[in-house]
Amino acid sequence: MANTRQITERTMHTLFFVVASASIVMLFMIMIFLFMEGIPIFNEVSVKAFIFGKYWYPTSEPPDFGILSLIVASLSVTLLSALISIPLGILTAIYIAEIASKRVSEIIKPMVELLSALPSVVIGFFGMVLVAPFLQNVFNIPTGLNLFNASLMLAFMSIPTICSLSEDAIHSVPNSLREASLALGATHLETILKVVVPASLSGISTAVILGMSRAIGETMVVLMVAGGAAFIPESIFDPVRPMPASIASEMAEAPFRGAHYHALFATGIVLFIFTFLFNIVADHIAYKYKQVGEATL
């Protein structure tokens, strides 16, 4: 009897371990297949020419495979969206966690969650049919489908990530720290700015990085509202073509296992490396500053 129990126990333990390793296996498979389909492009162009090449004319004869303008586009929409999403996300998180009454925060929190649940295609569609004409009229520009519009839409996609992760971090600050500060005569605001936020800074940084990682990888929004021009932008109202948009729109026309197909996979590799770096940094910060405040034994 005890013996079968021990065998079951060991079997289950092993089984769960194998399944838990599936995520790593998947991660490796994703890398392997990206590289398998992406590397062949470097028979046609050098890595340097691919990454720093300014011209992306994959269907011309002869084709140009330089993705610098795509990389610049991805980085610029991400940075511009971060300028909007970081303050809004963090301020909202502080409001929910520290200022709002329980009833109010119980209304706002689900709203932020619902915002994150909106399918990206819906947000892209919204940017296309409502925001783009609006921008075009107000700023009197040739097209409303541009860098600014894409950044604005992306910001609202990364706010929920930034907000809810920051809120978790703020929540984990022990109450005794707040009480200590209040008891010393600090106002609520001073306590928030000088005690609570510094104590949760590592969590907030992680939140910001993951939010930006989400923005750089987001596809549908940039596909639908960024405008799609593969040039290095000179103004925030220029149309751009970030990496995910290029992959999504061109894959259907790229001849199977032709140079263009491989170039798109190679673009995927670059995108993957960007998000991978973001995540490693976020993970490192989260791990390094795991314990905040109160020592416990």
Binding site: M1, A2, R5, Q6, E9, L297
Partner: protein, 253 residues
């Protein structure tokens, strides 16, 4: 009365990572006796108790040195099946912790996991255990209602019944009354007095009067060391060491 040694603890050291929580404790427990472990918070008495059924195995960074012999066999021997060991040693926790199941299922749980399928046997054993834990009359009409609807004192007696159902030889109690009111506490203490006829009981308590009331043997811990042990009467009236006296008379801790 049978005075045979049930558990023999020899030179027990226990570490949480770098921190040594127990230092060279040696102590015997006898059949049909109630032993009380007392001492200030953080003195290691709960850690000591949890070494006896290897509950500390659950703490990843912990390490044990020394021997604990149950009926002469080392419980930390690699060949020992921890699961079987724990079904021989019942445990009652600080806060009542019934499962979110019915009263009946709570008591039947230990039997089911130990592979008993006979319905009649399970029903009998559940009833016996609830009677033994002096809670049968209060719950017999609501056996299939959630155990979470009981009062704190009732929940704790249910947890005792749950532990008894597995027919353990030893009962470990980790401050079983700390979350209860005085009336519920009194009921548990009466129960302990009844139970010692059939079990070896080891109880950790914060409450000196409780130790004096229920135990035959008292062991005083301080900073991970076993300071003094002996007959409860002796310890409370004529302690050998000043430290023990100071604690018992309330001068520190």
């Amino acid at each position: 009365m049978d005075k045979s040694v049930k558990i023999e603890v020899k030179h027990l050291n226990f570490y949480y990572g770098e921190f040594q929580a127990l230092q060279d404790n040696s102590l015997d427990f006898h059949t049909n006796e109630v032993s009380a472990l007392i001492g200030p918070s953080g003195c290691g008495k709960s850690t000591f108790l949890r070494c006896l059924n290897r509950m500390n195995d659950l703490i990843p960074i912990s390490r044990v040195e020394g021997n604990i012999l149950l009926d002469g066999l080392d419980i930390y021997d690699p060949s020992v099946d921890v699961v079987m060991l724990r079904s021989r040693i019942g445990m009652v926790f600080q806060k009542p912790n019934p499962f979110p199941k019915t009263i009946f299922e709570n008591v039947a749980y230990g039997l089911r996991v130990n592979g008993i399928k006979d319905k009649g046997l399970i029903e009998n054993r559940v009833e016996e255990s609830l009677k033994l834990a002096a809670i049968w009359d209060e719950v017999k009409d609501r056996m299939h209602k959630s155990a979470l609807g009981l009062s704190g004192g009732q929940q704790q007696r249910l947890c005792i019944a749950r532990a008894l159902a597995v027919e353990p030889e030893i009962l470990l109690m980790d401050e079983p009354c700390s979350a209860l009111d005085p009336i519920a506490t009194q009921k548990i203490e009466e129960l302990i007095y009844q139970l010692k006829k059939s079990f070896t009981i080891i109880i950790v308590t914060h409450n000196m009067q409780q130790a004096a009331r229920v135990s035959d043997i008292t062991a005083f811990f301080y900073l991970g060391e076993l300071i003094e042990t002996g007959e409860t009467n002796t310890i409370f009236t004529r302690p050998k060491l000043k430290q023990t006296e100071d604690y018992i008379t309330g001068r520190f801790g």
